[in-house]
């Protein structure tokens, strides 16, 4: 049985009923790295947010289940759900510059979950934090733990957030475009670090990105989203060899080639967009009639 199983998840804007997620099915095995790809607004981040319980208040889940380790999160009472998510899942956020609290020292920001939610002793939690900062190659962890975020660089902060995500040995980590906000030179290191940490800890990883290059490097499987709908779920090997869906093919063709950076970019053809939009519309009709 899959560690994460999302079944028929639909969400919409509270005010206008505009659909954000359309009947999403998604499963991630223990230790698997699964990519969520799509254009901006395709709903890829929303899946991660829904499962971590941090959807904006303007969005409501209308149906579906999110099973984490066999328990449907949406059926739990709020306090219980929060604790369960905090104990079994974690987030590597997009922008390291805004994801650390500027008025709190680094150390407590790593150890707080261990102490407050999981009930560890403070000294054990601090030892664990030092160990993890060491794992993400941060020199002098003791000093860093006493620092405030503004005293550290963006790359350092992202390493800290990665360490913090792995601190409670979660079974699943959502990485929400973890390299987008970083400098290109730092991106590669951070990507390598996430892959390294994932391999060492055997954590399942839900990797949200719009960068197919990143997917080919770190993921084993992926889901392609369009308009809040999963249009294709496949393994990375099959996806890059022969994508099944026309939209996937177009998306792949639109990716700039590192081997030939000067080649002109190929946008996703309008016919393909029209076809996938028709698919979304057909899905909506069947929802209404069913």
């Amino acid at each position: 049985m899959s560690f994460l199983a999302i079944k028929g998840l639909s969400a919409r804007l509270r005010d206008t009923s505009f659909p954000i997620l359309r009947d999403v099915f998604l499963s991630v095995e223990a230790g698997e790295v699964h990519g969520l790809v799509g254009e901006s607004g395709a709903g890829k981040s929303m899946i991660g947010k829904a499962l971590l319980g941090i959807l904006p208040t303007s969005i409501e889940i209308t149906h579906g289940t999110i099973e984490l380790d066999g328990v449907d999160l949406l059926r739990l009472p709020p306090a219980e759900r929060r604790r369960r998510i905090g104990a079994t899942a974690a987030l590597i956020p997009q922008d390291p510059l805004t994801a650390l609290n500027p008025s709190r020292r680094i150390g407590p920001q790593i150890t707080d979950r261990l102490v407050d939610i999981l009930g560890w002793a403070r000294s054990t939690a601090e030892a664990r934090a030092r160990e993890l900062l060491d794992e993400v190659h941060i020199p002098d962890p003791v000093r860093v733990m006493r620092s405030y975020p503004h005293e550290l660089s963006g790359g350092m902060r992202q390493r800290i957030l990665i360490a913090s995500a792995f601190a409670a040995e979660p079974k699943l980590i959502v990485a929400d475009e973890p390299t987008t906000a970083l400098d290109v030179t730092v991106q590669k290191q951070i990507l390598k670090l996430i892959a390294e940490m994932q391999a060492r800890h055997g954590t399942a990883l839900l990797f949200v990105t719009h960068d197919l290059g990143v997917v080919s490097k770190v993921c084993q499987s992926l889901s392609v989203l369009y308009g809040g709908m999963v249009v294709e779920r496949t393994t990375v090997r099959d996806f890059f060899r022969e994508p099944a869906h026309s939209y996937s093919r177009a998306l792949l063709a639109a990716t700039p080639k590192y081997t030939d950076p000067l080649a002109s970019l190929t946008p996703v053809p309008e016919t393909v967009i029209a076809a996938v939009q028709a698919e979304v519309a057909a899905h909506d009709r069947s929802q209404r009639n069913g």
Partner: protein, 336 residues
Amino acid sequence: MQLFRAFLLRLFTTAITLSGVAVIVFFVIRVVPGNPIAMMLPPGATEADVARLTARYGFDKSIPEQFLIWLQGVVQGDFGTSITSNQPVLGLVLGRLPATLELSIMALVIAVFIGGFIALTGTRNRGTSVEAAIDVGNGMALSVPDFLWGLVLILLFGVLWPVFHISGRVTPSLDLPFTTNFYLFESVLRLRFDLWADIVSHMFMPALALAIPLAAIIGQLLKQSLKETMHLDYVTLARTKGYGENHVILREALPNAILPTLTLVGVQFTFLIGGTVIIERLFSYEGLGNMAIDAVINRDLPLIQGIVILFAAIFTAVNLIVDLSYAFLNPRLRHG
């Protein structure tokens, strides 16, 4: 070292501010109509009596000359003699200062508690009818000035349902064992809670009247910056760790949202102290403000000068405290 230089600079600017205030108040109260000597003499005094008294208080000299004489005294700690009571101004003013300080600080504490509670409740219930009700209440509290709140409170809790004293600082018949004029503070130190209760019962309504507009400002601003902070990434990240709404508001959002409010509270607190003038009059509270009004009515020029200088000194002190606490609360300023 850097801190010491900042401190010296601060002292220097404070001195300039206070001198400026001294010059302005000295000249203005001499230019406006009203003769202090005429106020003192009984009807039927002769021209010679007037001239004698005028010379005695130095009002026969030119205004710049009077200013220099006064300034000479001030640097030696002599703020002159009150015309109406014939006592040294410094002693009179310092004797009243504790009453006004206690009232202002009590008002500030009440305002912070009410305002903080409003802001936290509003943030906790953002987007609901509770928040809408808070906004309406805030608007009302803000649009009514403090002295009107004073009248409303007197009517409600002094007349219709008399639970608080409406006049004075302490019941006159009580025997006070105090050595300082910090009655509220000293009653606690001496464990005289009977006196303490009587003093609080006198102070509560004037303090609340002063506090209501400030509480509304604090509530409004803090709620706004809390709501903005609640959308930030580190707050979201804390939620994924398993923390609930209360914890997230108090530990993640509040310390960061409080900074802009703190600056504003400093500025508004000086307005609140200014408000004590009318409020003390309204509640016959024996503080500086009440004394200031008497001094103006009697054209007691030395006393007016002393009170205004003291108010100015309090204002600069409040601003200094705000700046220091700002540096203490914001780690980014502490190091830079």
